[in-house]
Symmetry: C2
Subunit: 201 residues, 2 copies
DNA sequence: GCACATCTGGACTTTCTGGTACAATGCTGC
DNA sequence: GCAGCATTGTACCAGAAAGTCCAGATGTGC
């Protein structure tokens, strides 16, 4: 029953993986189906057999990212249980960027910035991804607060939003400047701010 | 001598203005010369008479932005002389975004995220713009520090980078979520952090 | 008032883009 | 071993994107 679809599923996955990489590298708008087809060594037939359109493929790429986050198979660990984890969360994203010699930004940010008023579906996919990440960060801050470790004026939701904005802005600047200096400085300042809510024991 | 070129200069400016708006709205990649030509009510002849290519136009649009920043004719005031100015600097950018119902991000960020390894010229233009903004912010923090108002560990350069990353990340999230909540929360947290360097009198 | 440069409009060309149509080739269960 | 779906390859197509070319209008200096 399942074996029946194995070969097709592999092709499908190969297309998704190639598309994921190209979208990250140059954005979705600058990537044509033909480019994905060639790089994945498939044909037009497969492409439109497995995906109803280019937009459909983008949607599925984002679904795959979401799945990775939820199942904790992403290279970045989004399960924050300690301040050390939070530091690693920031650092892991910068490391990823460094692996590409600072020529790429955040995959979500890259796609997010291309969104226009005609890409409502994609915008919502991205919105959901960020919502999931945000809630994981907020949960950590909430737990810390419940443990009495954070000052009264610390607002977990806002702290989570602040984390995301800092890393997104930092990575964008890193890509534009082709340098990790800004993003490293920004994330360190951001961390310092977050830790300032810690109650000194 | 100058009058001779008046009419042409007006056409040229009209093209730049229309392009600036379209690039802000949907990015440069999604904007075709034809669209700009139609919206500016000109013709192909003019377009390629005044700009050597689409890339050339993007370059000139960025030059115009840079000029605005340098001559202080931009809607956002980049001359920071007080903490109040800094607050306004953050707020003005959010206001701009709200004017477009949160459907657009920062014009520089939008273009910056589209940049690939083949857009080296544009990347450098953006890099320069951010460098100018950064130096204006850093100058303010440096002056504050010279006045003895900032703690010893305050680093003006890093604080400037942090400002830019926070607003860029916030605006990107604002565009993706179509909500000003995140960007407002982020900028307020960022401001709180910056002010934490102030020495309590 | 004419030589000469600037300025303008649009037809045309080439290549890319996103997609369809369709035929051929596998599997798989029975 | 064959019916019937899954899978694959390729040819084709309409429209968009980016740019070239050129004919002509317009203005100006002298």
């Amino acid at each position: 029953m399942n074996r029946k679809f194995v070969r097709g599923a592999e092709t499908r996955l190969r297309i998704i993986r190639v598309a994921t990489d190209l979208f990250h590298k140059q954005g979705a708008r600058a990537t044509s189906p033909d480019e994905i087809i060639e790089a994945s060594r498939t044909g037009k037939g497969q492409f439109y057999h497995y995906f109803k359109s280019k937009e459909g493929l983008i949607h599925e790429v984002l679904q795959a990212y979401l799945e990775e986050i939820k199942t904790q198979t992403s290279r970045v660990n989004y399960e924050i249980a300690s301040w050390r984890d939070l530091e690693k969360w920031f650092a892991a994203q910068v490391e990823l960027q460094k692996d590409y010699e600072m020529t790429r930004g955040c995959p979500f940010g890259t796609l997010g910035n291309e969104v226009t008023e005609n890409d409502e579906l994609i915008r919502q996919d991205l919105s959901l991804i960020f919502e999931v990440i945000r809630s994981k960060l907020a949960a950590f801050f909430l737990r810390e607060k419940a443990k009495g470790k954070l000052a009264k004026q610390a607002n977990a939701e806002r702290m989570a939003d602040f984390c995301i904005a800092a890393i997104q802005g930092g990575m964008l600047m890193g890509k534009i400047k082709r340098s990790s200096y800004t993003v490293e400085a920004s994330t360190q300042e951001a961390l310092a701010h977050l830790k300032s809510y810690l109650i000194r024991a």
